[in-house]
């Protein structure tokens, strides 16, 4: 029982590791997809200078889309977005003029190309026009998510390895006890010339069965948990359907669970029979 339980924990952790990797990849790609670069121009820069700049920028191969937002548009967008917020509206009136800067919103063809565009902006002759570029803030968000997910991934992996070792030890001990309980039968098997695999076989099967049982229980529990959590997760991440992810990768998950269970069970049994079966 303890063997199945510890195998179950290990398999569950291996499954979580797989699910979390999928989840973090989704998170990173969705953040990357939403990434863009906004170039804010100094207040005194004329629209014709900005258009000239836009013309040059559109020739940069990495740039997929350029959207110009004038000072007026920015003000309209802001008032539209925050019309229900009296505090913000009051402070806007207090300022007494349009405080927004004209900007160019740049979308790259691929997420990895933003750095090249940022480098172009930094090295161009137009730095005098630019008030600020807000790519770097997003970059740090991406980097933070990446480092967070990779830290969690590493922790999961580390825990999985520790648990796998504990599972091997406990299964090893269970098989050792089984060998001890069958010692008379093993003596007789040796006496009548049974081959080593004939004697070893039942213990390896016992280890594998514990792994299969643990994998089955884990599959059942993880399906229920994912199904139950699916709607709750969707309220936080609207595009993330973890149940769909689970279904899409169902065979892969089954493979991970059964392979982990059977491998751990058989490896521990094999080690125990090598150590304790005098053949």
């Amino acid at each position: 029982m303890a063997t199945v339980f510890i195998l179950l924990l290990t398999i569950a952790l291996a499954t979580s590791l797989f699910l979390f990797r999928g989840f973090s990849q989704f998170l990173l790609s969705s953040v990357e997809e939403k990434a863009d670069i906004s170039v804010y121009f100094k207040e005194e820069i004329s629209e014709s200078d900005i258009f000239e700049f836009r013309e040059k920028l559109s020739k940069v191969p990495e740039v997929r889309e350029l959207r110009y937002i004038s000072q007026e548009m920015a003000l309209i967008d802001f008032t539209e977005k925050h019309k229900d917020n009296p505090v913000l509206m009051a402070s806007l009136t207090e300022v007494g003029r349009n405080p927004f800067l004209a900007s160019l919103n740049i979308m790259a063809s691929e997420p990895g190309q933003y750095q090249a565009i940022a480098d172009f902006l930094g090295g161009s002759d137009f730095t005098d026009l630019i008030e600020k570029v807000d790519y770097y803030q997003r970059k740090s968000v991406i980097e933070r998510i990446f480092s967070l997910t990779s830290t969690i991934n590493r922790s999961f992996l580390f825990l999985s390895i520790i648990l796998a070792l504990v599972a091997i030890l406990i299964t090893f001990n269970t098989i050792r006890l089984a060998i001890y309980n069958s010692r008379e039968e093993i003596k007789i098997q040796r006496l009548v010339g049974a081959s080593s695999w004939f004697i070893r076989g039942p213990f390896l099967v016992q280890g594998a069965l514990a792994g299969i049982l643990a994998a089955l229980i884990c599959l059942l529990i993880s399906s229920l948990i994912i199904w139950g959590l699916s709607s709750k997760v969707e309220t936080f991440f609207t595009d993330l359907d973890i149940f769909q992810f689970f279904i899409t990768n169902f065979w892969q998950i089954i493979l991970i669970q059964f392979a982990t269970g059977i491998l751990l069970g058989v490896i521990s049994s094999f080690l125990a029979t090598r150590r304790y079966l005098k053949l």
Partner: protein, 226 residues
């Protein structure tokens, strides 16, 4: 057929079990090994079964040096030697028939072979009537007969009997010895380790006497003298 050449076995803590033992056993011979408890009788049989390795010396079986047999080949080698022990070593949850058949099952014999060979062997040891009885339903003598039947099933060249009468009364002891003699007459070498004086004296066969791990006597028609 079997040759012990200057064999010494020393267990950990310098316990000398047998020391410089040399003797040969011919094909179809009946040899008794006698000695007090701890004289080294069982160690000799274990060495012959390749359960122990000698510290010094060589043991040959059919011209093969037993020490050089690889562990993977032990099962095949053990099928050539039938062994019988004082405590019978029968599986309690199997009938007499099943206990004997088990020795064939473990080597992957077919059902046909099992159905052909097991009744024959049970007939040789006189247990046909008890084929469907479990060990706890058999007398001591019958249990030992069942064990001998199992040892015979591989048609071994040699039967090793380690104190086979140790748990039996004089009547059943004689019964088992008669069976071993019959097996020898049928062409199998028998090596009997015992400290039963009456049996040895009635046999009038070759006797090797051990004392403190050494061979002190080896006589063609020996008696139990200690």
């Amino acid at each position: 057929m079997i040759s012990f050449q200057h064999v010494t076995k020393i267990y950990p803590r310098n316990t000398v079990a047998v020391e410089d033992v040399s003797f040969d056993v011919k094909e179809k011979e009946f040899v008794s090994i006698v000695g007090k408890s701890g004289a080294g009788k069982t160690t000799l049989l274990k060495l012959l079964l390749a359960e122990e390795r000698p510290t010094q010396g060589k043991i040959f079986f059919d011209g093969r040096n037993i020490n050089e047999i690889k562990p993977g080949k032990f099962p095949n080698f053990r099928r050539e030697i039938g062994a019988v022990f004082q405590d019978y070593k029968l599986l309690p949850f199997k009938t007499t028939y099943e206990n004997v058949a088990y020795a064939l099952e473990v080597i992957g014999a077919s059902d046909r072979e099992i159905a052909r060979d097991v009744p024959k062997v049970l007939e040789i040891v006189g247990l046909t009537e008890k084929a469907n009885n479990f060990p706890q339903e058999l007398s001591g003598g019958e249990k030992q007969r069942a064990a001998i039947a199992r040892a015979l099933i591989h048609r071994p060249e040699v039967i090793l009997a380690d104190e086979p009468t140790g748990n039996l009364d004089p009547y059943h002891s004689l019964d088992i010895i008669r069976l071993l003699l019959k097996i020898q007459e049928m062409g199998t070498t028998v090596i009997l380790a015992t400290h039963n004086r009456e049996i040895i004296n009635s046999l009038e066969k070759r006797v090797i006497t051990l004392e403190n791990g050494k061979v002190i006597r080896d006589e063609k028609k020996g008696r139990f003298i200690l």
